[in-house]
Structures are given as C-alpha cells and as structure tokens.
C-alpha cells in the first residue's frame, strides 16, 4: 500500500506538478483522442514540453534586462515602471503558477466546449496564446486569495470558460460590420477595446470616410515585424530613462548598469533593450512550439464536440479588411498610451500609488490596430483615430489597476497588457481576495454568472436578431456610392451625347 501511495506521490510531484510535463501530457491526451499514431503523439507531446521549457529560458533573459530598467525608473521617478507584455509576465509566472494554470487551461477548455454545445453562445475560442495568458492570470490572482489547489483550478476553469464564449459574442455585431459577413468571430482578450472603438466610431464618425481611401506611406509597415517593434520600443524607453538618469543622478546612475562613463552607461542601456528583444523572441519561439501542438489537438476535439460553432480567432484576422486603419489605430493608440502615462505619473501614481505603465509597441500595434479597424468600420477615419486613442487609454490604465491585485508577482516589472485581462483580472482579484474564502467563491461564481448571463442575453436579443452597429452610416455610404455611380453614369451619357453631336456636325 505504501508503495502504491509513494508511486502516486511521485507522479503527483514529479510529473503533474511540472508545467512542461503537464502540457506534454495534455497534448498527448488530445492527440490520442484524435486517433493520431504513436509517433505523432510522442513527437507532439515532447515538442509541447520543450516549448514550455524554452519559455522559461526566455523569461530569464527578459527578467535580467528588465530588472535594471525597473531600478532605474524607480530611482528617477520614485515610481514602479512596468512594460506590460503578456508573453513576458506569463513566462515569468510559469515557474510558480505553471501547473495550476495548465490545469485551468485544460479544464476550462472542456467547460467551454460544454457551454458552446448547450448554450446559445456557439463560439470556440482558438487563440491559443490568449487562453494560456488568461489561465495564467487567473492562476495568479485566484492563488492570492485561495492558494494554489483544487479550488483555484475549479473557479479559474469556470471563469476562463465563460470568458472564452462570452467575449466573442459581445464583440460579434461589430465584428460582422468589419468583415461584412458572419463567418468568423474574434477570440481575443482585448475585446473591450474593440467594442469601445466600434461604439466610439459610431458616435464620432457619422459622415467620416473610410481610412482605406487615404494613401498611407508604406514606410511604417516594418512595425508589423514584432522583433523590430519590440526592440525599437525598448531602445527608446531605455534611452529616455538612461538620459533622464544621467541628468538627475549624474555619475551615481552608472552602477545601475555597471558602467563607468556616461557613454558606456547609455550604451549598456541600449544593449539591455536589445536583450529584452532577444528574450521576447525566445519566449515567442517557445509559445509557437507548444501552441503548434496544443491548438490542433484542441481544435480537432472541438470540431467533433461542437460542429458548426464559430471559431474565435486572433485579432490580425481583421487586419486585411482595413490595412490603413491598422496603422492609424496603432499610432493613435500609442499617443493615447503616452497621454495616459503622463496622467499616471502626475496624478494617479502620487495619489493612489499606481505603477507607471510604459507603452510597449507590440500591444499597441495589435490591439490599437484592431481598434482602428473596428473604429473605421463604424466611423471611418475619425472612428479609427478615436477608437485607437481610447484603446490606448484602456491598455494603459487597466494594467495599472490590475497590478493592485496581482500580489507579489506585480513586482516583476511586467504585467498583462490587453484590455480584458485588465478589467476581468481586477474583478476576479477583488472577488477572490475579499477576505473570506466562502465570500470569495460566491463573488467569483456571481461574476461568472453575470458575464455568462449578459452574453447569452446579448447573443439571443441582439446578435441573433441581426443588429449591426453603424447602420445609418452604412446607408449614407451606400447612398453616396449610388450617387457617385449615378454621377459617372450621367457623365458618360453627356460625353456620348457630345460625341454624337460632334459627329452630326461633321
């Protein structure tokens, strides 16, 4: 009997508690369920496990480049400076919370299938990295209240499942306006930003023309390359703070980067910034490696359990519908982020002690670009500008608030960036950390029920009824188009008549 118990203990401690093995096992189970052959199962599981270990290696590189920056920002501003990057915070948290989040991920995915099968919310969320980020966020904020264990996994899985079917539903009327059809949904946890952009676009851009009629210089498209964008934004951030450090502290700033002259101090900062880019590239490689195995396994199962459900996909899927709006939205989101940073530094930090959220180019590009597309769909150019700007404010203020409920992990100089992580994480954190476990569970369940209930009502009363935002503007656009067509037709007739008149005159 003792032998049996110790075998179970060995499995529990040495396998099921090690995130990398756990991910490998989940992938293996998924592939077995899809009746893949033994070679594919072993290969897939091993690659998934290796991918997770690569994540950890990248986290070390990123952390060692962020630590001096954090110290430097604290020394010159007196406040904690944070670069929100989902990949980084997830990789940093994976060591401590990896196993819990892997359980939340797999149980949450199964629950999502049940919800999609039996509720009006027929969405299958397939944006794998966002599933991973959300389960990590839930593991972190719930563990502060409930500790790591069965309770956190169960509550986390319910909350994750609800979010995965609810957010695509909430965004869907706007998504349909963007794509012009009803084939895909958006499964991306920055939906609040896209909905806000769509609503704002409708308010400000009733008679604004589409961004797609402007000629935008192609010179900015290099920012689509995440390696370039990440490195560039970190070099700028490091340059600002090293120069600021030199002005404020003089030679006393040198030890932060182990430098001995002003020149080597600044250049050491540039090197740290590039190393951050290196770390993020390693993390992305790890994420890609294990998602490449996990998502096909998940998707294969989903298509069997909930046939015909709409796939919730990553935000770049809407980028082709309005490429100029992506750049417009990105730029105005970035400006929104900078203005929000000033507000944090001059008011919210001194009064409420919120951290300074430095603008990262990657979140601003992807979520700001998405907000630009949504804003453009309902409000043209003005919609894209205002939508991107609001998104920029959201993804700066919300992470600052979220930091308050992340416990000790808030000290890693990074946090989750996208809008839904901010509002949902904060609400979950406040529920779970309300003091008593019973109240915490109750509040979490109420939160899940409210989000789920609202989403069901929205789906039945709004989405299924075919409501689409910005119908007035669409009518105006259609009328404009009809007018333009009529005008060109008139001109054609006039030209023809003129030709005929000239002919008869001969």
């Amino acid at each position: 009997m003792d032998g049996f118990v110790s075998v179970l203990q060995f499995i529990g401690n040495e396998f099921l508690n090690v995130p990398a093995y756990l991910i490998g096992i989940i992938v293996a189970v998924g592939l077995i369920a899809l009746k893949k052959n033994a070679g594919q199962v072993v290969g897939g599981a091993l690659k998934a496990a290796l991918g997770f270990l690569i994540l950890g290696a990248g986290a070390n590189v990123v952390t060692s480049s962020l630590t001096p920056l954090g110290d430097l920002v604290l020394a010159v501003t007196g406040a904690q400076g944070v670069v929100p990057t989902n990949e980084v915070i997830t990789a940093q948290a994976a060591g401590e919370f990896g196993a819990t989040s892997a359980y939340i991920l797999s149980l949450g995915f199964l629950l999502m299938l049940v919800l999609a099968r039996f509720s009006p919310l027929k969405y299958v969320f397939l944006t794998g990295h966002h599933m991973v980020f959300m389960s990590m966020l839930l593991a972190v904020v719930l563990s502060v209240g409930f500790g790591q264990g069965f309770l956190t996994v169960l509550v986390g899985a319910v909350l994750l499942a609800v979010m995965m079917v609810a957010m695509p539903a909430f965004a869907h009327p706007w998504t349909k306006r963007v794509t012009g059809n009803d084939t895909v949904a958006i499964g991306h946890f920055s939906s609040l930003g896209y909905i806000a952009a769509g609503a704002a676009g409708q308010a400000v851009g009733k008679r604004s023309r589409s961004t797609e009629e402007i000629n935008v210089p192609k010179g900015l498209s290099f920012l689509r390359d995440s390696m370039v964008a990440t490195a560039l934004s970190m070099v700028l951030i490091y340059l600002v703070f090293t120069v600021w450090g030199l002005i404020k502290l003089g030679a006393d700033a040198y030890p932060f980067l182990e430098a001995d002259t002003a020149g080597s101090f600044v250049m050491a900062g540039v090197m740290q910034a590039l190393m951050f880019g290196v770390g993020v590239a390693i993390i992305l490689y790890g994420v890609r490696t294990f998602l490449g195995e996990l998502i096909p396994a998940f998707q294969g199962i989903a298509s069997k359990v909930v046939p015909g459900a709409k796939a919730g996909l990553d935000i770049p899927i809407v980028f082709p519908y309005a490429q100029n709006a992506v750049l417009v939205g990105f730029i105005s989101s970035f400006i929104g982020g900078l203005i929000a940073l000033v507000v944090l530094a001059t008011w919210l930090n001194p009064v409420f002690g919120l951290a300074l959220i430095l603008p990262g180019m990657v979140p601003h590009f992807f979520t700001g670009g998405g907000a630009g597309v949504y804003g453009n769909a309902t409000g043209g150019r003005r919609g894209a500008i205002v939508g991107g700007f609001i998104n920029g404010l959201l993804i700066t203020f919300l992470p600052a608030i979220l930091m308050q409920v992340m416990g000790g992990l808030g000290l890693g100089n990074s946090t989750f960036g996208d809008a839904d992580f901010g509002w949902f994480g904060t609400l979950v954190g406040l529920s779970a950390q309300s003091g008593s476990t019973i109240v915490g569970i109750l509040l979490s369940v109420v939160l899940a029920l409210v989000v789920f209930g609202l989403a069901c009502a929205w789906q039945v009363k709004v989405v299924n009824k075919g409501w689409m935002p910005g119908a007035d503007r669409q009518k105006w656009l259609d009328a404009e188009q009809a007018q333009a067509k009529a005008r060109s037709e008139e001109e054609r007739v006039a030209r023809r008549d003129a030709r005929r008149a000239a002919k008869t005159a001969d």
């Binding site: 498209s221 992305l284 998502i295």
Partner: protein
Amino acid sequence: MKIVAVCGMGIGTSVILKMNIEKVLERFDVDAQVEAADISTARGAAQTADLVLTSAELAPQLGEVPADVVVVDNFVDEQEIEDKLVDALDL
C-alpha cells in the same frame, strides 16, 4: 516538402492557417511538413521551404525568397486555401 505559414507574430493566425493547410493536404494525400512562422524569422525559414503562404500585407515584406509565395486572403476559408494549393503544387 516544406511549407511555411506566416503571420505577424507566428502564434495566432499562422497556426490556424497551418492547420487548414494540413487538412487540405491530408485530403490530397500529400506528405508535407507545415510550419508556422512570424515575419521576422519567415525569411530564414523560406530559404529551405518549397512554398510560403501568407497574407497580402506581409507578402511584400518577405522580399526575395527562393520559395514560391502564395497570398491567402482568408486564413479560415478552406476552399480558397485548397484552390491556391492545387494551383501552386499542381495537385
């Protein structure tokens, strides 16, 4: 045969594209290794690949690569992917 599916980050839409390519190839009984890549590393991956599939915005950024580059408008439209693969690979 090696096929590369490319998107901006190499973790979201390219994985979806990769799965759809695999589904189509399975129907035609073609044995190929399909890889998801981000635009940063795609140029390297494309050096040894036979075929690259990506979106219209990213295709120009690949620059000159030895592999054939096919533009896919809708990453979830299996029919479109099938048509383009049939054209590109002479299936």
